[in-house]
Amino acid sequence: MSGNVGIAANLNPRAEMASIMEPAMVEIDHLSLYYGEKLALKDVSMSVPKHRVTAYIGPSGCGKSTLLRCINRMNDLVDGVRIVGNVRIGGSDIYDRSVDVTELRKRVGMVFQKSNPFPKSIFENVAYGPRILGLKRRSDLEGVVERSLRGAALWDEVSDRLHESALGLSGGQQQRLCIARAIAVEPDVLLMDEPCSALDPIATARIEELMLELKNSYTIVIVTHNMQQAARVSDYTGFMLLGELVEFGVTRELFTNPRDKRTEDYITGRFG
């Protein structure tokens, strides 16, 4: 039955159906993933609507990060990974042989759980992506850096020390720098893997605020094990358990009126 959950959401005749029918940015179609012999994702199907925040929630080890990493093919780096099924972005299959992974990652940016600025200056961190894409002129780079830092709500805090080491920033600032770095290449999709798990509540609030702004320009997929966060920032939520996408739908619906017993158990804290 898990196989048709995502589709069921699409076919569901209830009220959220209209919104789910929004134009899809990422479509995941019967995706299974194996680490060696171990099945980590079981036949997941769903679609991520454009310019919305989509959240995956679930207990640790349920495969939500793995699913996220399938969208920019970061799982390719892991030895012994095998993938069955399709992921389409803008209609084209990203696991097609002809796809250039670097081209894909240009369109799908990522922010990681632990902030990971390069051991370089703030400026060089943000300019890294554009430089990789071949941007060389100093004035162009300066423009991109300022725009990205403003986009990540960091400009006012760092504009006077752009050439100091990024490692001197606070944890929350570092994470916003990573967001700035990711949006500097203007991706279509922004993947966020538990971006606030190492931050204090104030820094978390700032990042959540930022996500709500960013969704006007980017399609955001976020993994979180903080249900309140998912409820606060996301438009759609998927609940994952043991590699399965148990339920996927409009966030308010999922939290107030879950269709699956397991979802209900999890969000009410009766799990496990």
Binding site: F112, F118, C178, R181
Partner: protein
Amino acid sequence: MSTPLAKMWRGGEPFVWLTGGALALALLLVAGLIALILVNGLGFFWPKDVARLTLADGKEMTGQVVERETVPGTAGQHRIKVKVANRDLYGADFQWVDEAQIARTDYPRDVAVVERTEWGLLIGALREVRDGENVVAKGSDAAWAEVRHRLPEAARLRSEIRGIETGEIGAINYEQERLRLRAKGLEQKGVSTGPPVDAIERELTALHLRYKEQETRLADLRKRQGATLVVTADDGKEKVLPLAQVLDVYFPNTMSGPAKAWHYATRIWEFVSAEPRESNTEGGVFPAIFGTVMMVVIMSILVTPLGVLAAFYLREYAKQGPFVSVVRIAVNNLAGVPSIVFGVFGVGFFIYFIGGSIDRLFYSAALPTPTYGTGGILWASLTLALLTVPVVIVATEEGLAAIPRGVREASLALSATKLETMLRVVLPAVMPSVLTGLILAMARAAGEVAPLMITGVVKLAPSLPVDGFWPFLHLDRKFMHLGFHIYDVGFQSPNVDAARPMVFATTLLLLAIVVLLNLFAISTRNRLRRKYATSAV
């Protein structure tokens, strides 16, 4: 076990004392060693007073007291070692005297110490100065005034002659050798007549004329070196010394403190800046300093890319498994192979095989004289690079392992390829670790002697590996090295007693150079660290 003792043991106090004691002992040993080297090495240059000992039998002995010890097999009787110098007059530089035999000791004001280009120090009273056959000054004071007046000119003449010998005539020899090789090359091609051969002949004739010219100049200069200095030593022995051989004359017993200090400073400067004399037991060690530093620099240039690339493959590209583990263990153990084995490998592989091939291919005209097929600074540096590459690999690998995975992922997620990630993020971040490895490698290479002895170090190199003749850097040349210099001066010299202070001074210098090279590398590393501080928490 009694309870308080057990309690004390569990409290950890004895262990703290044990560990602290071990560290203190190690520090004490190192400090003692450095103090020994410092005292012996730096004391050597201080102008010691000259004593005149009158013995019980009426004989006189003039010299510097350098050592005092108990006479073996007796109690309370001492003897002293006197540096009487004047090796050419007495046969030995040093004499032992029992203190019991000494009737009187005084420090006469008129005893001069003469430093000269041959035979070591001369100690005695100045008697007269002659110019040719004429006596121009008689008596200690007059002779001293005359010597002081004439010394600068003598030094100028000496350096002019040396300049002609090494400069102009050296250039002529160099040209001649080049022409000879060109002629031989033509001969090998079967050309023995015709315009090219004639051109070479013409050039050779021109060179010969130039040589004759320089020879006349030299003869003229030498004619002006007729002045001699007569010095009286013990037992009325006399030495007639050409003024051209006199480097310096001083009266240690009448020198003031500042004068001694000035003398001391100039001697140290001479030691680090001049060329060695008297089969390395006198003069300076500049060629050895130059050779050591240059060899370490060439070694660093060779070892860094090799070690870094190997470490990158091991850590970043190779599939981790038993094979890579075995390779890693093998690399670590390579550091434990005796260095002489590396030297033998260097001789067999670099010198005979690679150097021999280079000679056959590019320097066949010079054969059978080898160019690269014999020891040289390039081969010595390569051998040491091989010796130290494990250190660089291990340090780089550790540095790579410390770079967080997230940084690499971030770069890849920004659409960088693996190569771009390596070059733009990982390599800069690992540079401090590379430099740490290089510091260790340099310290090891600078102090290594055994493999160098068979791959290119010599007792006395006729010329530095860098000079004014194209291509300026002569990697095929043999060179001098401080470590080998210590061995040579201390154990191979004909006059070990006289040379022993040089051993300490040279050791001190080698230590100083290692420290300087390390400080340079450490400051570079700290600068890089500030620039690329790793985000490892």
